[in-house]
Symmetry: C2
Amino acid sequence: MVAAPMPAARATPSCVIGVDLGGTKLLAGVVGPDQAVRHRVRRQALGLDQARLMAVIVEAVEEVRAAASDEVAAVGFGIPVTLDRRTGTAAYSTHLPLAGVPFAAVMSERLGVPVAVDNDGNCAVLAEARHGAAAGADDVVMLTLGTGIGGGLVLGGQLQRGWIGAGGELGHMVIDFDGPPCQGNCPNRGCLEVMASGSALVREASLRVARRPDTALGHALEEGRELTGPFVTELAHDGDPVARDAMHAIGRALGVGLSSLVNVLNPEVIVIGGGVIAAGEMLLGPARAELQARALLPARDAVRVVPAAFGEQAGLVGAALLARESARAAA
Amino acid sequence: MVAAPMPAARATPSCVIGVDLGGTKLLAGVVGPDQAVRHRVRRQALGLDQARLMAVIVEAVEEVRAAASDEVAAVGFGIPVTLDRRTGTAAYSTHLPLAGVPFAAVMSERLGVPVAVDNDGNCAVLAEARHGAAAGADDVVMLTLGTGIGGGLVLGGQLQRGWIGAGGELGHMVIDFDGPPCQGNCPNRGCLEVMASGSALVREASLRVARRPDTALGHALEEGRELTGPFVTELAHDGDPVARDAMHAIGRALGVGLSSLVNVLNPEVIVIGGGVIAAGEMLLGPARAELQARALLPARDAVRVVPAAFGEQAGLVGAALLARESARAAA
């Protein structure tokens, strides 16, 4: 986390704002002590230049603040960048023009309140570990399966960000060292992200449908429908054999990655979030089976693999938790 | 760690004994506040039944205690088992008949002093992180490359054992999900252990020498010499091309594993220990090159990959550190 110096002393925080800045959209809202989200706003973030993006963020927070009845004590941000704790800036940003920006310092000045900033995966695991699907557990791994795979680690009760804050890139564990090239800025091959993400689901379905064109998926393609993760998931729910096979393949790949995480970290709970978790047990079933077939005892029998509880609000709620902790520490 | 109830209150520890129980041998010695090891004894542990093994351990500790000038305040053990912190017993033991034994409680009663017990990999990383090759670093990964691959994690300054104490099995990260079956009690395939250990070195050399019999390694095999990790390493040092190629292959596999660890944990230092590190840069060179080619920025540029400082005494020194901490906490 990067926390900006507090502009002025304030009363005990009664109200904090959480902001989740994804690669395409922004969600912001007031988060109460019960983790309920109120006054939520949503903005598009894709394709904006840096100045416009920062302006959109400030406007969104101000809109939430105006709607809040209590004074806002702090604002927390989950952002999709690798933060370098040594400099307080975003060292790397795949999706948004934030590289090199001292985000916490800039936002604190623009908003006039204390600001906490962390990677979006770290925010999500914090929300799930403190109040969500892994509430009460001290050793929690979270994987967020979307177009890519993000993640976060709570170990020994603490968020583990690594030395300079670049840890938790769970999508970039290698599970097939001669596998397909990974995505985006990752130079690796056979990463979990390229084997078990929404993109992998689409690739696996495309490969399989060529051999089985006389299926619902094959017919949809003939009619010009674009293959997307949500569409393949929908067809799998409807029983399409190609979509189900593709889902099974990425579930197995996920389970291989889980076996590594269980052997290395021995978590009590692994939380699976992100859009792909809409597949539910079609994804988790094969993943759990592969985990059971591969990981070591006694850790493999001890771990629970569960879907996320906060859904798309995990990043927002976690960012607000960080803001509250940060404001408390500074008070 | 599992700590046994202290039989009686004692003075501040001036002297502790560390014991490293490997799969084949036991090392014990007095460890001073400067981490220097004195009065070291060595015993064979291989092939003993449980009663005899426990007796040999007690005799070795008593011999060291008799040689020590100061009173012994506590004894720490590093043992090659998976401890279950929920029960205080060894949940699983590949090499020694210790499964189900409440080791700390038994030893504390037999020795009449407080006893701390932890996995040998946890002891080794603690020694290296506090006083060895990674002294001063809060985020440290240690891999011990021998016949198998062990490991340990210090993250956020704390030893991370996982929920029930079964974490740190770094040899059992998958790097090739359709790879060769793993060793011992591991049901997985393509684990780092089966791709980058001393056993893997011997396998890679055996595969390669069949195609190149007219080499030093080929001639040695013809003369009836057995292939072992140390022998392949020696020939690699002498420039034998088969041995060097085999070393390069396991170095690359190691580097793939390191890329996963860097992406997931963002350590400041990765310490490589165990017998295979005798190969030095012949192993670390290809491993670092693979890491640089695969891991994400900025974490890959920030990490240092270094050989262990304590050599074969790492487990012993780490066990003594645990004993000292445990005695201090109880005082």
